[in-house]
Amino acid sequence: MSTVWLVVLVVGVATVALKATGPVLLGDRTLPEPVARVVALLAPVLLAALVVTQTVGGDNELVLDARLAGVGAGGAAIAARAPLPAVVVVAAAATALVRLVA
């Protein structure tokens, strides 16, 4: 089995199971408070890590390139309360522009 299909299969099954956790298994139970807090923090932590790795991540090295301009422009759009699609378009345009000029 190829790497791609292995990932698709395992992640697909795992996600189906995760989404089914509450409705199928835990009708009226709730997570213990400390566990719930840990899991609640996973989303911000992993999203922050994704922002970092996708902005300056390379193959075993830090790479500073046009993506920085894209994230900067995207950040400005977020600060201006632009809708999600606009943020992405602005970031892509800034990245493409800087890459074209550089």
Binding site: G22, P44, G57
Partner: protein
């Protein structure tokens, strides 16, 4: 509808980038149909494109989707009937359908959750299909600046998560861990390692209490 259009747009982006990352046509479609969770799918694409290992991609994606356990528990009372039916309906839970169905008092609206979930599912899978097939015609995602668009997307998804000081501190710590590990570990590992920041965040919270 605006949310569905956004999701469709990202589905197309995912299809395009997944194709460019060498995932082919069928695998991205199957992934969208089964996983139906944007950030995890983009993380997989990014790790595989960076020649990361299957284990790193799976670990990062499963960790990213771990939030669906508590999310699905929070809406568990809305699901009735046979287990298979509850299993099928629970797959319509996604960040946006869940958020849209919140009444703001800790309870959720079943019709909104299912309705929005169906709409978003259709948008996500059809967007992916357009992305994987149009990808070849559109060309190099890098020329379009798409590689700069994804960190901005994650930043936009991150900002609403920073509702507490603990969440902000944990996010900063996670970002720092990832930054430090990028040069010394295989792609994907920094993201997984950064997840330990959520444990530190909670411990700090308990000490403060």
């Amino acid at each position: 509808m605006a949310v569905a259009a956004t999701v469709w747009f990202f589905g197309a982006s995912f299809g395009l980038v997944a194709r460019a990352a060498g995932m082919g046509v069928a695998a991205p479609l199957v992934l969208s149909a089964t996983t139906f969770a944007g950030s995890a799918q983009f993380a997989i694409t990014s790790i595989l494109a960076g020649s990361g290992s299957a284990v790193a991609a799976i670990a990062a994606a499963v960790l990213l989707n771990a939030r669906y356990a508590p999310i699905s528990i929070s809406v568990a009372p809305l699901f009735h009937g046979p287990r298979l039916r509850r299993l099928a309906e629970s797959q319509l839970i996604v960040d946006e359908s869940w958020a849209l169905s919140s009444r703001g008092d800790g309870r959720f609206d079943r019709r909104l959750l299912i309705g929005a979930g169906l709409l978003l599912y259709a948008a996500w899978v059809s967007g992916t299909a357009v992305g994987v097939f149009a990808g070849k015609a559109i060309g190099d995602p890098k020329a379009l600046g798409l590689d700069g668009a994804f960190p901005a997307l994650f930043l936009a998804l991150l900002v609403p998560q920073l509702r507490s000081r603990t969440a902000t501190q944990a996010a900063l710590l996670g970002g720092a861990i990832a930054l430090v590990l990028i040069p010394v570990t295989p792609p994907g590992v920094p993201i997984v390692a950064a997840s330990t920041a959520c444990l530190l965040g909670v411990r700090r919270d308990e000490e403060a209490a």
